[in-house]
């Protein structure tokens, strides 16, 4: 086997995503601007203009149409990509659901951002979390390298699971900060990612009279279709593991399961979080451990499929401190979901960093101690 030179290059999170998309060679890309996502589709339009990427690049008049375009393309058997943030994701919401229930394997980058009012372009996770009930697979990158790797993996996972997949990256924190990353050589990507099968999810071709989506003669047809979506999510767990393992063999980079465990073996207290700020969380864990506190961290790499089997393991620890960069009237989303699978461990839900408020290593360092020290109620705001 010839050895392939791995290129190391400094890229922002958004450009890393754009490079991964380019290597996946989608047939159709739909683009609509919204901060902090925009530089992904700008970069892709450059690739297409320069002839480095042979995609049909469709500039649409709204995110609703962006999702509609990639939905149509995927139903016609094409590999299709779009990207959005915040209000853009909300604006496309009806088609987001339709895409999942059509089992159209679209890939979308969601660069997370606050929802207004007021207008605010900074990071928050409420936007991507609106995908949780839709049937989309949802991953959150921890760093720029993972944003790149997840985007490539997403095409394979989506097309084999016959489900759309969103790759989340934190607005500005990942999207606009530059990190040196390894770019997988194109030959390796070509080996990893087989050509798109045109008959997934249906063979939609002139002369083949297939009707998709008309009224059911029996509501149980629809009900079974929805149950199948649930089952596809359960099956996707093994698929994600296999795809990651295979990717690891080819590139030397793999991430394991839906949850990354950091120093949890001998821990009594575990921090749970998702996205870029987990790096700050890990640094805080190191500091706390240096002071003799047995703390670990569980980073949720995937929010969907719901990693129930992984999260149940949290019952082994005394205190589980869940950090949500989102808020709903019922509490933080991750906090609620973690609680839903635990019966023994004490769960404290810290709502921090919402609306783009800074929350760094010292934020984790202090609040973990407060939580362990019994200073917090069930849901605690740190603003």
């Amino acid at each position: 086997m010839k050895t392939l030179a791995t290129r190391k290059i400094a890229l922002t999170g958004n450009y890393a995503v754009a490079h991964a998309v380019k290597m996946a060679k989608p047939h159709v890309i739909a683009a609509y601007p919204i901060t902090p996502q925009t530089s992904i589709v700008e970069k892709l339009s450059e690739f297409v203009e320069r002839g480095e990427l042979k995609s049909s690049f469709v500039n649409v008049e709204s995110e609703f149409s962006a999702m509609s375009v990639v939905y149509g393309a995927a139903m016609a058997g094409a590999r299709a990509f779009t990207a959005t943030s915040s209000h853009g994701l909300l604006y496309m919401y009806e088609v987001v659901w339709w895409t999942a229930l059509s089992r159209a394997p679209v890939v979308m980058a969601v660069v997370t951002r606050t929802i207004g009012p007021p207008w605010n372009i900074h990071v928050e996770h409420n936007d991507i979390l609106t995908l949780r009930d839709t049937g989309w697979l949802v991953a959150m990158a921890g760093d720029v390298q993972e944003a790149f790797d997840l985007t490539l993996q997403a095409f394979k996972i989506a097309e084999f699971a016959v489900l759309p997949m969103a790759v989340g990256l934190d607005g500005f924190i990942l999207s606009h900060s530059t990190e040196p990353i390894e770019l997988t050589p194109q030959e390796v990507v070509d080996e990893f990612l087989p050509p798109r099968r045109f008959d997934v999810p249906v063979a939609f071709r002139p002369g083949v009279p297939v009707t998709f989506g008309n009224l059911p003669s029996d509501n149980r047809i629809h009900a079974r279709h929805k149950a199948a979506l649930y089952n596809a999510h359960q099956d996707a767990k093994e698929l994600i593991r296999r795809v990651d393992e295979e990717y690891g063999k080819l590139t030397g980079r793999s991430y394991g399961g839906l949850v990354e465990w950091y120093k949890c073996e001998d821990a009594k207290y575990v921090v749970v979080c998702t996205g870029a700020w987990c790096s700050d969380g890990k640094a805080a864990v190191d500091r706390l451990r240096a002071r003799g506190m047995p703390v670990g961290l569980a980073r949720l790499r995937f929010l969907r499929p719901f990693p129930a089997e992984w999260l149940r393991r949290l019952d082994l620890y005394d205190v589980v401190i869940v950090y949500d960069r989102d808020i709903t009237p019922a509490g933080g989303v991750l906090g609620l979901e973690v609680k839903s699978v635990l019966s023994r461990a004490k769960v404290i839900n810290i709502i921090a960093g919402i609306a783009g408020v800074d929350f760094d290593v010292s934020g984790f360092y202090e609040t973990v101690q407060n939580a362990i020290g019994g200073k917090y109620g069930e849901v605690e705001f740190v603003i």
């Binding site: 049909s56 649409v60 375009v69 149509g72 083949v208």
Partner: protein, 296 residues
């Protein structure tokens, strides 16, 4: 292009046992679409009567590929399909079969966007002049004074002329059609299939329950629309604007039948006073004057 309908292929693309009402004008149009382009198209159908008339899954009464899509999305979904077909080397047309509500109201941004970027799509808007599927509510395409369930004393506003808007926007092919003139509609579909880019056909399609007339009279109502001058058959073909027969003769107001002939057989206009009928007649004339400017 001359041809006889009875000499067209006999294959049926709209099957018996479909769920349309008796006398549905839209279904006549769909049959003509099948005759013209049946083997070459995939249909994109947004929420509307057309989603229902297909009948119940796992069966379908439409013998063409159909993708049902959200109400406002059809023009953009069709764009995605046609781009995918091009990239994958698939021959055929993405054809939107959409109602007036989805086209002129909720989906108008997507329609206008597809026209502006000149997506390779044939968009047929069958116009039954209201939201029929949800029970006859007014749309932007409902004519002035018409009764609907949300305009109980008649609509106060004008009908949106979406075809003219798209012609002005510069779409390569825009035409009006009418189910009472299937040859004209057939020819326009064939023409649309020859032209790259965005093609729009505005198809007049009476709806007996929605307009309150006898289902046996669908074609009669449709023909009266042309003969009274209410509906004008025209075509805008890459910059050339022309009237199509028989509308060519009705440019002369004296040749038109009295508007009352059209109004009186439809229950939706039953409440109109003679004065209001005269007023509509003036508006019909004003529409002809507008069209005349394009003909110059």
């Amino acid at each position: 292009m001359t041809f006889r309908l009875d000499q067209l292929p006999k294959k049926k693309y709209v099957l018996p046992g479909n769920a349309a009402c008796a006398g549905c004008g839209m279904m006549i149009g769909l049959r003509v679409l099948g005759m013209a382009l049946g083997e070459e198209v995939v249909l994109i159908v947004p929420a509307s009567c057309s989603s229902v008339v297909q009948g119940l899954a796992p069966k379908s009464s439409i013998a063409m590929p159909v993708l049902n899509v959200p109400f406002a999305s059809a023009a953009a979904v069709a764009t995605g399909i046609s781009e995918a077909f091009k990239a994958l080397g698939v021959r055929g047309h993405a054809v939107v079969w959409a109602g007036d509500g989805s086209t002129v109201d909720i989906g108008f941004a997507a329609v206008s966007g597809a026209a502006e970027r000149n997506s390779d799509v044939i968009y047929v808007m069958y116009d039954n002049e209201a939201y029929m599927n949800t029970g006859i509510q007014r749309s932007g395409s409902t004519p002035k004074y018409a009764w609907t369930s949300t305009t109980p004393v008649g609509k106060r506003e004008q009908k949106k002329d979406v075809a003219l808007m798209l012609a002005v926007q510069g779409a390569p092919y825009v035409a009006t059609a009418n189910i009472a003139y299937p040859q004209d509609f057939y020819r326009k579909l064939k023409r649309a299939a020859e032209i790259p880019g965005f093609k729009f056909i505005h198809l007049y399609a009476p709806c007996p329950p929605g307009w309150r007339f006898d289902p046996a009279k669908t074609v009669e109502v449709a023909r009266l629309a042309v003969e009274t001058g209410v509906w004008i058959l025209w075509e805008y073909d890459r910059g050339a604007f022309r009237l199509n027969p028989p509308s060519t003769i009705y440019r002369d107001r004296a040749k038109r039948r009295p508007l009352a002939d059209y109004i009186k057989i439809q229950g939706r206009f039953a409440h109109l006073s003679d004065e209001e009928v005269r007023f509509i007649e003036e508006e019909v004339e004003a529409k002809w004057q507008r069209i005349a400017k394009f003909l110059e």
